[in-house]
Each structure stands twice: as C-alpha cells, then as structure tokens.
Symmetry: C2
Subunit: 208 residues, 2 copies
C-alpha cells in the first residue's frame, strides 16, 4: 500500500470541511463503527460540486451501499433524481430511511439486485457513479456507454486502490482498476482525470 495524500493534508482538509448535517454525521459514525466503506466527506463535497456544475437530470449509482454518496448527489440536485442500486436489501433499506428523514426520497429511486443488469433499464444518464467490485469497472462502463447522455460524467471511486495501482500487485481488484484507468484515459470519447482524494476519484467527461 502507498499512502495517497499525506495524513496531515487530509486532517487539514477535514478541519476546513466542517459539517452540521446530522444525517451525514450519523452515516459517517456508522461507517467508522462497522468499518463500512464510504467515499468520505471530502469526496462527498467533490460529488456535490460536480453535481452543481453539471445540473443533471439523471444520476445512476452502481454500488450505493447505504446511500452516503447518493445523499451528497441528492442534496446538490435541482430537479433531477438519483437511482441507488445495491445488491444488499439491508443497505437499501438503510438508505431509504436516511432519505426519508432528509425529505429527499422524492429525488431518489432505490433498486436492489445486480447493478450492471438493473442500470441497463436507464437511458440518458447524466452522471454514472461506479463503486462496485473493482474487476467489474471496465465492463460496467463498456456496457453502459450507449446509455450515457451527451457530455455525461462518469465518476468512479477507488481509482487509486490503496495506491496499489503504482506497484506490481496482480490481484483481481488491482488489475481491474489499472485496466479501467487505462481504458478511460485512452478512450476517444472521454476526457479523463483522477483526483487523489481519499482512495482516488476518477472523473471522465464524455466529449461526445
């Protein structure tokens, strides 16, 4: 493992990013307690900013967990909606509870099952957020390319995979992420960059 951003930098950024939304604070506490992977507050703020800039009608999330990232998307949404897809019914129920409490349920749709299959039902996706098993990233974007709107954004979490992308690891996850990054940076229809925030956030702007 390679540290991505120096912990002192991370602490400084976290201190600047104070938060008073008790639902966000609650989800963060739960993530810590259960060691459940969430994107974290700094990435959440990036998702919020990108959503404000993009003003999307439709966001589709592959791998929503209990709704932490979707919550940031939903808070930034104008008239659009976010589709949360997760394979785990329990996660989905938790997400629904949080969205209910925040009065954001009207902006969201909750689906349980295989993310790649269910996402196929949606057309004109403005933001596709990918946070499923790492070896599935490339096939996810390949199979959903026709479903993306003009100038869509593809955002993928864990694009630096604990820094293991810089080394010689041959495990399925590391290889999957490396393949995905290569694919996105070389793809003629995408303009791609990675933010070294937390575990790396890939942002690809569809130029067609």
């Amino acid at each position: 493992m390679v540290p991505i951003t120096d912990p002192r930098i991370n602490n400084y950024l976290m201190k600047l990013s104070s938060e008073d939304d008790r639902l966000i604070l609650g989800m963060e506490r739960e993530a810590k307690k259960r060691d459940f992977p969430i994107v974290d507050r700094l990435v959440g703020r990036l998702l919020y900013t990108l959503t404000k800039l993009k003003n999307p009608r439709l966001i589709v999330e592959l791998g929503s967990g209990y709704g932490y990232s979707a919550y940031w998307f939903a808070k930034a949404l104008g008239r659009g909606r976010v589709v949360l897809i997760d394979y785990d019914e329990k996660n989905s129920k938790k997400a629904q509870k949080v969205f209910q409490e925040a009065d954001l349920k009207r902006k969201a749709e909750f689906r349980v099952g295989n993310a790649l299959d269910l996402a196929q039902e949606y057309r004109n996706i403005d933001i596709l957020f990918i946070d499923i098993d790492k070896h599935q990233y490339t096939s996810a974007v390949k199979s959903l390319l026709p479903n993306l709107n003009r100038n869509a954004l593809v955002i993928a979490d864990n694009a630096l995979w604990y820094g293991k992308v810089t080394g010689k690891s041959r495990d399925r996850e590391t290889l999957g992420i490396k393949e995905f990054n290569d694919y996105m940076f070389r793809h003629k229809e995408f303009y791609t960059t990675i933010m070294p925030l937390r575990d790396g956030v890939l942002i690809a702007y569809k130029i067609t």
Copy 2:
C-alpha cells in the same frame, strides 16, 4: 514542507496523462528549464474538465505567467474568452506567441499590469482563476465578489502551499493562504473544496 501527494501516485497519474500537444509540451519544458512555476499537466486537465462542465462566457485569470493555465482554459472553451492578466510584459508576450501559434488568440485577451486593478474592469465573470502573490488572495476575492456571475467558479492555485498550511509557519504567504482557505470555506455564498493535486487547487462554487 509536507509532501501533498505521494510521488509514486503523481508518476502514475502523469503516465496516464500523456500529451501530444507540442505547445503544452514546449511550455512544460520551458517551466522546467527556467524553474518557472506553472500549474502542471494534472491541474491543467482539471481546469479543462471544469471549463467543459461550466461552459463559461468569461474567464479572468489573475497571474497568468506565460499562459500555461490559460491555454488549458482556452482549449476547453466554447464561445467564451479568457482574460490573461500578468504584471510582466515579457510573460504576456510569450503567452501571446503561444496563443497565436495555437490559433487561440481570438479566445483570449492579454493585459499587463496590476491584476486586482485590471480585473475590476470585467463584469459577469464565470470563472475567476487566482494565482498571484499568496497574501493577496483574500483581498482579490473580496474585491471581485460583485464582479462574479451567478454560480461562478473561483479556482485558486497553491491552496496547500507546499503543505505549509498544516504547520506553524508564520510567513506572509502561508498566513495568506490559510486566511483565504478559512474565508472561502466559511463564506455563505460559496461551496468550497480543495483538490490535493500538485500544490492544492481550491474550487469554490458560488451558490448565489
């Protein structure tokens, strides 16, 4: 000094971000040779992405150097234009030469003098890019707030100032950047985040 992003991560991102624009490559070579501070290619790609998302009419740069960042803005621009302001006539001439060669001059305006004074001439700024003396950042954004368009972006380079923002340095530059970050994160009209790319890039979305 605190390292911001691990150099192995930086190398990995640079390898992904191959470039064949000979004018960009030329400016990067010159920066290396003269030890001239430019934002670097990874930040350039972020500026390009943000410009595509924002589709601005007017970008104003405070502290353009010889035009490296402005070149990324200009390449991403639709019908808008970018105003390059620098106090050094030689820098401006170099920037003009590059923009001429790239056939981007019609998208640019070149001004020489005090950035804070000259920028006051512009109204409805969609993207304000700040890269001047670090103790001037806060006064720059304060004085130009009325000149910003609804939902404008403020982007500032060196927001982590060699990582010195995390320590106890009391020099004018470090204090200036810390004051600026505090100001932007607390400001009710901005939604602010910092990307730990190179020396830190602050992105503030004007929510009014």
